[in-house]
């Protein structure tokens, strides 16, 4: 029976997270608009945009290679695969043994490289500029992510996300300073990876500021829909990851039947909503920083992560 539940919960999780991605983006935009005193578009607007874009024929440059046509599918596929691995409402899903934090980071890197290469495909200055900046930011975000993973791995004994969530839900680890520092480091990485304010502005096409948009400037039609969908899925994935690790409240344990899933689902929607609200408030309150200030931002995240790990060394050395 447990196998059936694990497969069912996995299928439900994939459907849920794929469906939640456009809605979450829509809700986030709506919340930001409200906070800034605008009415804002309907929360389902991103979904409508995706469906509209899908109907249009993409226009490619004359010298575009097969990379331009294949990369959107690869990036969207990698995002779906990564999202399938991050626990949401229940633990012990069918793919739980696969859900390693570093594998998830690797799949996200795969999508990032696909996007950078697509940006460089036709040889326009914008695409190259965006790709160079994106890869540079990622180079600084990666160490912060791995150092945060170090703290989690010390506490949970593994880098498996499902096991980490389980350890934090049931292990009675309590509140720890190191966990707080790891949370801050992971938040900074999440902001950088999703091209949110203050690293990048998701709503702008202003040339001097953009990173993510610069790479997909050439994309149109279904290709653009796939890029947008992959970006939405990444944001959902990161919020789900943060809530699974740091807010495991209400998550159904491994092997639990559907009656506990309902509680898990409600808790997950509430947590994602709260995170979206917090992100909207943060983005409304802060301005985008200069491109070459980003290393300081990510460097601070790395140092906080290292500090968390060192605190753990000291505390485990004392006990």
């Amino acid at each position: 029976m447990a196998i059936v539940w694990s497969i069912l919960s996995q299928a439900l999780h994939i459907v849920l997270i794929v469906a939640a991605a456009p809605v979450l983006t829509g809700v986030l935009r709506w919340l930001k608009a409200r906070m800034m005193g605008r009415r804002g578009a309907h929360p389902l607007q991103p979904l409508r945009d995706l469906l509209k874009l899908l109907r249009k024929t993409p226009v490619l440059a004359e010298n575009a290679s097969p990379v331009s046509r294949a990369a959107p599918y690869l990036a969207a596929g990698a995002a779906v695969a990564a999202a399938a691995l991050v626990p949401s409402f229940a633990r012990g899903m069918a793919f739980a043994p696969l859900s390693d934090l570093i594998v998830v980071a690797g799949l996200l890197a795969l999508g990032r490289v696909a996007m950078a290469l697509a940006g460089m495909d036709v040889g326009t200055p914008f695409g190259g500029l965006g790709a160079a900046r994106e890869m540079s930011f990622a180079a600084l975000a990666e160490p912060a992510l791995v150092v945060a993973a170090l703290s989690l791995a010390i506490l949970a004994g593994t880098t498996n996300l499902d096991a980490i969530a389980g350890a934090f839900r049931e292990g009675g680890l309590g509140l720890r300073v190191s966990l707080g520092l790891a949370l801050v480091a992971l938040l900074a990485v999440a902001i950088a990876e999703n091209a949110r304010i203050p690293v990048d502005n998701p709503a702008t096409h202003l040339e001097l500021t953009m990173v993510h948009e610069a790479m997909i400037l050439e994309a149109s039609g279904r290709h653009l829909a796939l890029w947008d969908f992959a970006a939405m899925l990444r944001l959902t994935l990161w919020l789900a990851l943060l809530s699974a690790v740091f807010l495991p409240l209400g998550q159904a344990p491994a092997g639990a039947g559907p009656h506990l899933w309902i509680l898990g689902l409600v808790a997950w929607v509430a947590k994602m909503g709260a995170l979206a609200l917090a992100l909207a408030a943060f983005e409304s309150a802060i301005a985008k920083m200069r491109v070459f200030r980003v290393p300081e931002f990510l460097g601070a995240a790395l140092l906080l992560g290292l500090l968390g790990a060192v605190l753990l060394f000291v505390s485990t050395g004392l006990t």
Binding site: L54, T57, V59, L60, A61, N63, A64, S65, V67, R69, Y73, G77, V80, A81, A84, L85, F95, L98, I102, V103, G106, L107, A109, L110, V113, A116, L117, M120, D121, V122, G123, T124, P125, G128, L129, A131, A132, R133, M135, S136, A138, A139, L140, A141, E142, V146, V147, L150, I154, G157, T158, R222, L226, V291, F292, P295, L306, V310, F313, T316
Partner: protein, 671 residues
Amino acid sequence: MLTLLLLATGSLLALAVAAPVLARHEAGGRAVFGGCAAASLLIAMGAIGGLLGSPEAADLPFGPPWGPARVAIDALSAWFLLILGLAGTAASIFALGSLHGPEAPRRLVPYPLFLAGMAVTLLAADGFTLLLGFEAMSLASWVLVAHDHEEEANRRAARIYLGFAGFGGLSLILAFGMLAGGAGDVAFAALREAPPDGWRAALVLALVLAGAGSKAGLAPLHVWLPLAHPAAPSHVSALMSGAMTKVALYVLARFAFDLMGTAQPLWLGAPLVALGAASAVIGALRANLEDDIKTLLACSTIENVGLISIGLGLALAFRGADLPALAALAAGAALLHALNHAVFKTLLFLAAGEVLHGALSRRIDRLGGLIHRMPVTAWAALAGVAAAASLPPLSGFASEWLLLQALLASWRVGDLAFQMGAAAATALAALAAALAAAAMVRFWGLVFLGRPRTPRAAGAEEGGRLVQAALILPAGLTVLFGLLPGLMLDLAEPALRLMTRAAAPRAGFVAIGAAEGGARYWPLLVALLLAAAIGAVVWAVRRRAPTGVARGPIWDCGFIAAPHHLPFGDPSTQPTASGFGQPLRRMLGTSLLVAREGVTMPPPGATGPAILHSGFDDPALVALEGPVPRWRDAAAAQAERLRDLSIRQCLGLTFGAVVLMLALLAWLEAR
């Protein structure tokens, strides 16, 4: 198996001897390179036999005056022979395919000798034979680095390389001397009997790090590598980066894990981790700033050698801290990454050689858009690039995953200073891996994507069948090793047992695991999941979207249309090599590599252009090229004074030397 391997090595030596005669014939080059490919394949097969079979040893019927030359094969040497065999096969097939007409003897003779030297180093079972092979490898590759000696840059590269090779050889001789002590027996079996301890162990490790580390490209003795590797012909560059650095790492591992005994303290691993982390970051960062594709790849080799060295150092430390399972995990990561790097770097260098052959340039700013003209090279190179950027499910990700797991477990060594150092090394290794991804995107994107930057790049042509086969073979292996790292780790099992007296945590054929019950990585399942996800996305899009695409002229971001003599647009509106490296040059280069940027403005009113210039210096090269020539000149000036000595003073010098020798002898006898 040993007989087979000796036979292959002997035939390589015979090829080297016969090469001057063969070079006179039209088909001579083909015979030499074909023979090398066959011998390399034999070596690879013999190595697999050696990994599956039991260790063998033999005394050759010839050798130095004091005894026979000893050879042996055990699991550790067999693993590195497998690396040599695979890289040698691909490189030799490439050389065979890119032959056009007769080849000069000075390019033909050293190549089999180079391969044979590496094989002898790996097969040696005494210090003398090992040094013989090591020096043959150094000298033969030096000849190949200097083959194109009309160019000043190549002469400089060869000169610096020779200096480093001499320094490395000397350090290794001293290391063997320190290890053998007064007894003077350099057979490995005798060396194992008397492992060094205390300061002697530290000194031996320092000498080995100077000798083998400089050959492998560990910072700060890496400066020759980005100069020498690109100067050689491409198939030799591939071997130097793919195989020769691994042979040097084998010597390092042979000393640290085997000859120096198993009862070494925790701290022996620390220098390897520190130097490895420094090399990884410096190499990966330089790879983002170089604008010559072969130099870029050579810098990426420094990075990967650094990662392997971190793995070896961690294994040493874990073994010293009595954590055998973790030691096997770290050693497994190092060995697996050595194999994976050898295969994908061979592939990338051969692809760079094909680009050089097809588009006649190594400079990124003269290439571009080659995916349209050289699709096979481009797609094969993409496999290597993705592996080098450690993307799942390719081979580089599997071994770097294992390495990260070993680093993440390093806190189990209960020493606070080591824990903090290892945490820093973890951050640096992750930084290096991400920098390598940026460098590889820059390499592949600028060379194969975009528009041609020169007419020659626009007219590039794909190589022949054999060349394509030489690219597809390592590309296939990169994918295969990526999907089946568990299988390769099982194959390496005897080597891990030899190094750490423990087996790596087993997770079956298809998975690799960090520890019992710890994290697991299933590459096949991840690949299947990825394929299923992409399939689902394609299916979902197909249902709603129209098929086909419309084509339109490129939008050049508002630049005015290019004139008619530039059919591919103005190349200067494309990202350049240094432009693409600009963010990282500013973020990290200014502090780590003394990078600089500046603008020279024309005086007010003048119509000249403003010139933007940027560049960087490797601090290690600056440190080397500053004082060393000064010392050399000072020593030469002192030596010059000897020429003016009178006959009495000359005789006095000789007499003094003899007395000194006798005194030394008397002192040694008395002890």
